[in-house]
Amino acid sequence: MNLRGKAVTLHDMSLRDGMHPKRHQISVAQMISVAEGLDAAGVPLIEVTHGDGLGGASINYGFPAHSDEEYLRAVVPRMKRARVSALLLPGIGTADDLRLAVDCGVGTMRVATHCTEADVAQQHIALARKLGVDTVGFLMMAHMVEAAELVVQARLLESYGSHCVYITDSAGYMLPDDVSARIARLRAELRPETEVGFHGHHNLGMGIANSLAAVEAGASRIDGSAAGLGAGAGNTPLEVLAAVLDRMGALHGVDLYKLMDTAEERVVPMMDRPVRIDRDALILGYAGVYSSFLLFAQRAGERYGVSPRDLLVELGRRRTVGGQEDMIEDLALEMARAQEREPRGKAP
């Protein structure tokens, strides 16, 4: 694989995707500390929002320690070089949230939909463009459809005004060939000035390998997270990716040592538990399930006496998509009833 001389923009997720393993409880002081560390290391893009994006504060996804506005107003003015981004999932957040985030100084707006439903983002992408910010369309759970369908959806996002379109492996299910095929098709079929990005999860340990495959196939923006802090087994660990890209001669412009120190000294100490490929995170990647379901499945499993692994596998079989967290408790209740009728031991 030859990545020599390729330019890659690294985008940190620890303060947005990292909200999931933190149950959205990162303090303002921690946000500032991590963001300042990343900024000093030269990470060009830093995402700050509720884990489920703007307006995600809810019973369904969890109430955060602070509002999106409080986090953004604390972090944005302290950035010397980095641009702060925010995520928005239409159906959860609205155009009002988007306007507020831009008012707080967000410079990149990322509008996310399930990989087959790009048309719900038209309004929001058009608004972000009108407000003059860098605009990204983000196709989640992209393992669920083939490259040809992703191209159709990506073209919609491009036509609404996206500067960049992402292939998002929300379940951490993809293998490098899956990533290469999808990114290469998008790169070939989108306008040359439209960037292509990749967002990975590390549930099968493929974060780095998939990101490299994405760069090789033409992606120029790659998401990762300092110390990997993110949903499931976390995102692609950003400092590891930066080190590997250095070795391969790709150009990312981030100070590796400062990034390593931020991960080690600022992100790791705030983890509630190690973000690693435990058996439930592994099953997310194995069964193709939305990574932020992890803690919900573990809590419901404990509460209703069902195995989180069985829950996650069934959620995958039912082809649930991002945002369906409410399905987890519903399904746990259903499985607990079935278990009562038919004690465990027999194959389902």
Binding site: S58, I59, N60, P90, G91, I92, T94, A95, D96, H114, T116, E117, D119, V120, Q122, Q123, R318, R319, T320, V321, G322, G323, Q324, D326, M327, E329, D330, L333, E334
Partner: protein
């Protein structure tokens, strides 16, 4: 026996208007006489013509001259928020009662088992049907809030990708905003939030709804359970596929109800309960207005 059915026009020949036409044809109180579209080639207009219902592709202007001769007293508007403002102006000036299925919401929100009686009492001339998610979930919020104060109610509505038309997709914020407001105004929650999730699985999933309420004090479990079950029965009177799947579930001050809503499969297949609950609620509302008109 004389036919006491009140004559109605349906404006909009998309999924909602066409489904409503099938349902209204079975009604003993409403007689649908017109289906109004803007696209002569639309599937809805073609089907209506086959059923012997009068059609026009000239929008609402195409029926204004016929309203009196055809005795149209009620109109369902299944177009768009923008079009509804015009349609309502023209039709209400001619004494037609409007049942608004768009997000325009010129008139008060109507969720039949919760506040229809009230609106009949005040003789509203234009009522709004909120949203599909609102029709499915607000009865449950009201079922809890009639037992004890609800500080906050949040609903999550998951629908099959195939059941959501382009109008809703292009303006998904209308759904979240309108539904949240109606959770407060009609459901009785102090604050409301609505979330919609679209799932493209094949075969398409049946509409699912989760309703979370945060009550201000320890939930009165027995009363909440009884109230929720009663309300489910009230909705089942006009939407037979409305099913309590799990709950009410109690977790501290949180009360959660899980529903599934299957349709009757009139225009779209049974999975599209979101379509059915909207058209059934609108028809139910029109039938009650019709009954009042006949009695007066």
């Amino acid at each position: 026996m004389t036919d006491e059915r009140v004559r109605a026009a349906i404006i909009g020949s998309g999924n909602i208007g066409t489904d409503l036409l099938y349902k209204a044809r079975r009604s003993t109180r409403i007689e649908p006489v017109w289906l109004v579209g803007i696209d002569a080639a639309s599937d809805g207009l073609r089907r209506a013509a086959e059923l012997g219902v009068k059609t026009t592709a000239d929008g609402v202007d195409g029926i204004l001259a016929h309203l009196e001769a055809d005795g149209v007293r009620i109109a369902f508007d299944a177009t768009s928020a923008h079009a509804h403002h015009e349609n309502a102006k023209k039709l209400q000036a001619r004494g037609v009662v409007m049942i608004d299925l768009t997000p325009a919401a010129i008139g008060p929100y109507c969720v039949p088992p919760v506040n229809l009686a009230e609106q009949l009492g005040t003789r509203e001339r234009n009522v709004n049907m909120v949203s599909c998610g609102g029709q499915a979930t607000i009865p449950m919020v009201a079922a809890v809030s009639r037992v004890q104060p609800v500080e906050y109610a949040e609903i999550v509505c998951t629908v099959a990708s195939k059941s959501i038309g382009p109008g809703t997709r292009q303006n998904i914020d209308e759904f979240t905003r309108t539904t949240a407001r109606a959770i407060e105004r009609v459901g009785g929650a102090r604050r409301g939030k609505a979330i919609i999730v679209i799932n493209p699985a094949e075969p398409p999933i049946i509409m699912r709804d989760t309703i979370h309420c945060l009550v201000s004090e320890e939930p009165d479990r027995d009363a909440v359970i009884a109230s929720v079950r009663d309300m489910v029965k009230s909705v089942q009177e006009y939407v037979p596929g409305y099913q309590l799947k799990n709950g009410p579930l109690f977790d501290g001050r949180r009360v959660t109800v899980f529903l599934e809503v299957a349709g009757r499969g009139d225009y779209l297949p049974r999975y599209a309960g979101n379509l059915d609950i909207m058209t059934s609620a609108a028809l139910r509302t029109a039938e009650m207005f019709a009954e009042a008109m006949v009695r007066r």
